[in-house]
């Protein structure tokens, strides 16, 4: 099958290999400030990562040269990006607004956005989950959750 991408360098494995090599090279810099024995294993691993990523890059480019198409990483990129953003958004909201408020909003919001559209079901599920978390962790185990940096707590 012919390669459908405009550039062979945008193949997922090629991009990953380049990313690994760049990040590993970046992490190599602080090893010069360490004692030789302390930097032995980390430097070996980072150099290993760079060498292996070159192998990966070459093998992927050979595949591209042979006309082998690279499978896309996802069939629904918007849903994947949306899911990631919602999870990151939930973590940030818990940190800045507080855990309970964010959780009470996130559970129905994520479920609604990704296709579960029953208001009663969402309400019941949210009450059960938030209530159970409060009963087990807050009440039962005295676990503290983030209360929100925005409120200065």
């Amino acid at each position: 099958m012919p390669e459908r991408r405009t550039s062979r360098l945008t193949r997922p494995e090629t991009l990953t290999a380049i990313g690994i090599a760049v990040v590993a090279a970046g992490f190599l810099i602080p090893t010069y400030d360490l004692r030789a024995i302390s930097s032995l294993l980390p430097a070996a691993m980072l150099i290993g990562l760079i060498v292996l990523s070159v192998f990966l890059l070459v093998s992927d480019q050979r595949k591209a040269g042979a006309g082998e198409d690279a499978a896309p990483m996802t069939k629904s990129p918007k849903r994947v990006v949306g899911a990631f953003l919602m999870i990151v958004g939930y973590a940030l909201a818990s940190d800045f607004i507080g855990f309970y408020a964010s959780t009470a909003v996130t559970i129905p919001l994520v479920a609604w956005v990704f296709g579960y559209r029953s208001p009663v079901g969402l309400l019941i599920a949210t009450v059960i989950v938030v209530g159970t978390i409060w009963a087990i962790f807050d009440f039962g185990m005295s676990q503290d959750f983030p209360t929100g940096r925005l409120w200065g707590r």
Partner: protein, 498 residues
């Protein structure tokens, strides 16, 4: 040698410890029954919640989940032809045709009894083989321990199959993560970038949750799955005690158990390979191989007995040498570390009650499959398939945050987990194996410490690593593991050409 095994029994049969196994089995069946969720993911999410628990309660939950999930995977495999776990693929071959014929209930009962049989055999194998092996490994010094770690990493990279370059990248990444934090001997900061939170290193729990829990959640939200529930409504269930006399699969169960146990011990193989091998072998021995694939209950028995027989046996190398045979075993090692239990020979010497108690819990977990899975599975658990996946995904996200936050009570760990989750998702999609990352993190620090200790003993001479027979045997085994698969492949290619 086995007296410690009996001493550990009273601790296991206390109410709390036994209840943990019961809860674990039920939770495991629920998780296994949901396509997209796995025992690895469930245990990863569970591990941070077990911090405050007694070790045997935590390990009982894990043992129960592992046993339950391996059976639970059969429920959607039989009813929807969607394996709940990768190990349940072979169960679909005859399970689904049985469900279409209105025999779904019997197929699930065969699955649960076979799973229990395999699990019990596996637990006995763990009890019989692990103690003598641990005695041998107690004699190891720093250089041997270093080589054991190298052998463990090599086995999981090269025997796991797939692309060895990707396996090596995964392992290097895992070992690199293990060195982040203070140097164990000189106290130098390594890659902490001034973050106090990273001085103690990266907690295995953060990595486990990120790598194993986040990608499945993304999958749940990415792909809408509609289930028709047709086969769930015509299960044709009868009480399990009435169904038992119809199950005359002793030979298949015994053969499948041996296959599963052997595959479990081998690093990198796993339940799906065991199930396929057992299924093929049982079909080869069958008097009516033509009925297989069209709803032959013995096919379900062969697949399920083997995929459960690899559960406890995968822990034989994991507990004695610190080398897990499967991804779940790797995650379980992480669970042990959380409770300060370093897998390896010292575990048997320093914590016999816990390690042998864990073995009993595996046995009880397997036995409990029959009453818990057998009575409820065909009715209640089949309904789980109708749970909305987006809702499930959102609840798991919340559990992940709580679990990781509760380790040290700081959001930094949550952000770190999300970073590992993103890396894990990319690795998962590009088919980089994840177990070498976990094993790299577990064994990296361990290997470094022992390497440096050995070098100190040898006054800096690296030849100290090759100065005794045990080390040389381990080096030879490592080399064999590395070059073995390519020699085997060449041999197979030549035979094909001939």
């Amino acid at each position: 040698m086995y007296s410690d095994l009996l001493h550990a029994l009273p601790d296991v049969i206390t109410f709390t410890n036994f209840a943990a196994v019961v809860i674990g089995v039920i939770a495991g069946i629920v998780v296994g029954a949901m396509p997209g969720l796995s025992a690895t993911m469930a245990i990863s999410v569970l591990v941070p919640f077990t911090f405050g628990l007694e070790p045997l309660v935590a390990l009982g939950l894990m043992a129960g989940i592992y046993n339950g999930a391996m059976y639970g995977g059969a429920i959607p495999a039989v009813l929807l032809r969607i394996p709940g776990t990768p190990a349940a693929v072979a169960t679909t071959f005859d399970g689904y045709p049985m469900a279409q014929k209105g025999e779904g209930g019997f197929a699930l009962q065969v699955a649960v009894v076979s799973s229990a049989f395999g699990g019990i055999a596996s637990a006995f194998a763990l009890m019989l083989l692990a103690p003598p092996l641990s005695r041998v490994t107690l004699l190891f010094g720093p250089s041997e321990v270093f080589w054991v770690a190298v052998f463990g990493l090599a086995s999981i990279i090269f025997l796991l199959g797939g692309n060895p370059v990707k396996g090596l990248i995964s392992a290097c990444f895992g070992v690199f993560v293990s060195v982040i934090g203070s140097d164990p001997i000189y106290g130098d900061d390594r890659f902490t970038f001034g973050q106090l939170e990273m001085l103690d290193g990266i907690s295995i729990v953060i990595l486990l949750v990120g790598l194993y829990a986040l990608p499945p959640v993304i999958d749940l939200l990415e792909t809408p799955l509609k289930t028709d529930g047709v086969n769930s409504s015509k299960l044709g269930t009868e009480p399990i005690w009435k169904a038992l006399p119809r199950m005359k699969y002793w030979k298949t169960w015994i053969r499948g158990s041996f296959i599963g146990i052997w595959i479990g011990i081998l690093p990198g193989a796993g339940g799906s390979m065991a199930a396929f091998m057992s299924y093929n072998e049982a079909r080869r021995k069958s008097k009516h191989p033509e009925t297989w694939g069209e709803g032959e209950p013995e096919g379900v028995a062969a697949a399920e007995v083997a995929n459960n027989a690899d559960t406890a046996s995968a822990l034989i190398p994991a507990l004695t040498l610190g080398i897990p045979g499967t991804a779940v075993a790797a995650v379980m090692l992480g669970g042990l570390l959380v409770h300060g239990l370093q897998p390896g020979p010292m575990l048997f010497r320093d914590n016999p009650d816990i390690v042998f108690g864990f073995m009993w819990q595996f046995l009880f977990g397997a036995i409990l499959l029959i009453p818990l899975g057998g009575s409820l599975a065909t009715n209640s658990f089949a309904r789980l398939l109708n749970l909305p996946r987006p809702l499930l995904g959102s609840v798991i996200i919340v559990l992940m945050l709580i679990g990781v936050y509760s380790i040290h009570g700081r959001m930094f760990d949550v952000y770190l987990m999300l970073g590992f989750g993103a890396i894990g998702w990319v690795m998962d999609r590009l088919q980089f194996p994840l177990p070498p990352v976990v094993l790299g993190l577990i064994l990296g620090g361990f290997a470094e410490e022992n390497l440096r200790l050995a070098l100190r003993i040898g006054r800096g001479d690296p030849m100290v690593l090759f100065q005794n027979w045990t080390s040389l045997i381990l080096v030879a085994l490592t080399v064999a593991v590395i070059i073995g698969p390519s020699i085997k492949k060449r041999y197979a290619d030549r035979r094909k050409q001939a």
